[in-house]
């Protein structure tokens, strides 16, 4: 437990997967907040140079996300022709719905 509370402990990862036909998947794990948002931001920078046709966030393994994490996703939405979240964990779905962003990220009913 001490390790988790250590300031230097970073509890999130982001992987970029370049797919076919201009689609890029960023797979995020862990807790996305003010301390870890830059990890995702760096992955987005890599994934969106050059600008992809489709950017997909795989957020199934995200244990926590707050508005600092949402901010990164919304910034990323400006750097690709289309952006969606698929799949999403429960907390991601909950936060996205509460902020009225489901449609924005292709998570409609």
């Amino acid at each position: 437990m001490a390790a988790i509370d250590d300031e230097s402990f970073v509890n999130a990862t982001a992987e970029v997967h370049f797919g076919d036909e201009g689609s890029v998947v960023i797979r995020v794990t862990g807790e996305v907040d003010i301390a870890t948002a830059d990890i995702i931001r760096q992955a987005v920078a890599v994934a969106t140079e050059p600008r992809p046709a489709r950017l997909v966030f795989d957020l199934l393994a995200v244990d926590f996300i707050d508005s600092s994490g949402l901010a990164v996703l919304l910034e990323a939405a400006k750097t690709a022709d289309s952006v969606r979240i698929d799949p999403a964990s429960n907390i991601v779905r909950r936060v996205i719905e509460a902020t009225g962003l489901s449609e924005m990220f292709g998570m409609g009913i």
Partner: protein, 202 residues
């Protein structure tokens, strides 16, 4: 009530979530999830806007959880409704969505404290001492996601009790205690006035 002070650094936000989750460990995971989410938002606001250490206090009562996040910095919280093209400004929106009640106190020279509460329903024993929560005992919290609210329904209306939750259709003695007292109502009125002042600045 348990309280802890956290230093002005980004890792404190996660530590504040851990601290609150520990205080609520007997409660349902679903509830812990939204409370820690709101704590994360308020702690982040302390770092972003006040650039100051902050203190988190957790109070678990029979029928509600109340959390206060306070800092020594200047400024007052501002509830916003950003468009999708605006990445920031959703912290208090999230608190407003997932809490049953929230507000703030700003004292010149003494910092800012923001609080929220979440009601526990059908809980006749002390929440902190209830061990049957995990087996499905009817401890629930009144969280209505935006998707279940009427389009354009404002937070003020929810606070007024217009379209309020399931309690209104199914009156139960223990649920009635969750309704605001006259004192709380008058406090909400004061809060709305302050919020209006905040909104005018936008």
């Amino acid at each position: 009530m348990d309280a802890r002070r956290f230093p002005n650094r980004s890792a404190s936000v996660r530590q504040a979530r851990r601290f609150v989750a520990e205080q609520l460990s007997e409660l349902p995971p679903d509830l812990i999830e939204v409370v820690t989410l709101m704590v994360s938002e308020l702690a982040t606001n302390c770092l972003r806007h006040a650039d100051a250490d902050f203190t988190v206090s957790v109070q678990v009562e029979t029928d509600r959880i109340r959390v206060v996040v306070a800092d020594d910095g200047p400024g007052s919280p501002q509830l916003r409704s950003p468009t999708p093209s605006e990445p920031y400004g959703r912290g208090l929106q999230i608190v407003s969505e997932f809490s049953d009640d929230w507000g703030f106190d700003v004292s010149p020279g003494a910092g800012t404290s923001v609080w929220f509460s979440v009601h526990l329903e059908g809980n006749s024993a002390s929440a902190a001492n209830t061990t049957s929560d995990r087996s499905g005992a009817p401890i629930r919290h009144r969280v209505r996601p935006m998707s279940q609210r009427a389009a354009g329904e404002s937070v003020d209306h929810i606070r007024d009790g217009v379209g309020d939750t399931i309690d209104d259709q199914r009156p139960r003695p223990e649920a009635r205690r969750c309704r605001p007292t006259e004192r709380q109502r008058s406090r909400n009125v004061a809060w709305r006035c302050r919020k209006a002042a905040v909104l005018i600045r936008f």
